[in-house]
């Protein structure tokens, strides 16, 4: 690890919807302390929050690794949940397998993955049925 990289790991607890978003909130605080601009912070926080919620409602929690350099913020969310059968379908706006009780809480509109794509500079999903899903979020920090 070189001196210019900050690595942080967060655990995401399974099945506890009330705690979903704690990691995104904690990272937001770190990015503020690093004096990163609010626009860039939002580009990281919104996708990470969407992906963190997905880990709780669609998988069994997991962990999040964040690497921050002066040029980029890279967030990797790893779960060992059920995986995604049809990634292309899951990426479509409005597609959701969320349960009614998740909907009652205001989520599960099928906008999460499209939203991650919209706000981040780049995203990458690797998924294997029965094994789990890894979502990567890339955001550049303009000089």
């Amino acid at each position: 690890m070189d001196n210019n990289t900050l690595n942080i790991r967060y655990e995401v607890v399974a099945k506890d919807f009330s705690r979903a978003g704690e990691a995104s909130s904690a990272l937001k605080k770190v990015l503020r302390k690093l004096n990163i601009s609010p626009d860039i912070i939002r580009k990281v926080s919104i996708p990470m929050y969407e992906a963190e919620i997905n880990m709780v409602i669609h998988a069994n929690g997991g962990y999040i690794d964040v690497d921050i350099t002066p040029e980029t913020i890279h967030v990797v969310l790893t779960d060992n949940g059920p995986g995604i059968a049809d990634l292309e379908l899951a990426m479509q706006e409005g597609y959701s397998t969320a349960t009614d009780n998740v909907r009652e809480l205001g989520f599960g509109a099928g906008m999460g993955l499209p939203n991650i794509k919209k706000y981040s500079d780049d995203m990458k999903i690797t998924t294997q049925l029965g094994k789990g899903t890894t979502v990567e979020i890339f955001v550049n920090i303009p000089a």
């Binding site: 919807f17 009330s18 979903a20 978003g21 995104s24 909130s25 937001k28 609010p38 939002r42 926080s45 919104i46 929050y49 969407e50 919620i53 809480l105 205001g106 989520f107 599960g108 509109a109 099928g110 906008m111 999460g112 499209p114 939203n115 919209k118």
Partner: protein, 112 residues
Amino acid sequence: MKIREVAKLLNAEILTGTDYLDEEVYSAFACDLMSDVLAFVDNHTILLTGLTNLQVVRTAEMMDMKVIVFVRGKRPDSDVVELAKKKEMVILTTELPMYPSSGILYSNGLGR
């Protein structure tokens, strides 16, 4: 418009954030679907909603929204108010439903 005026216009009770009532707000977003808040909010400062779970505060935090107004007389649990307090947000609760709340703020110039 100052947050103080928002509270007054909606005849709202202030559950936390009395220190920030003189701060200015410029626009509002009214919605019970947090997914849509995450997808469509763009520099709005007030969230009007009838949902009261913890994720409403988290969502507002991610969107840099400063004020949450719970409509239809909805009252959040104390953990929701506590989290908002920690995040230096203002929480208001009004007896008015979503439509009149939005109409009153809009016709008084908020977000126009």
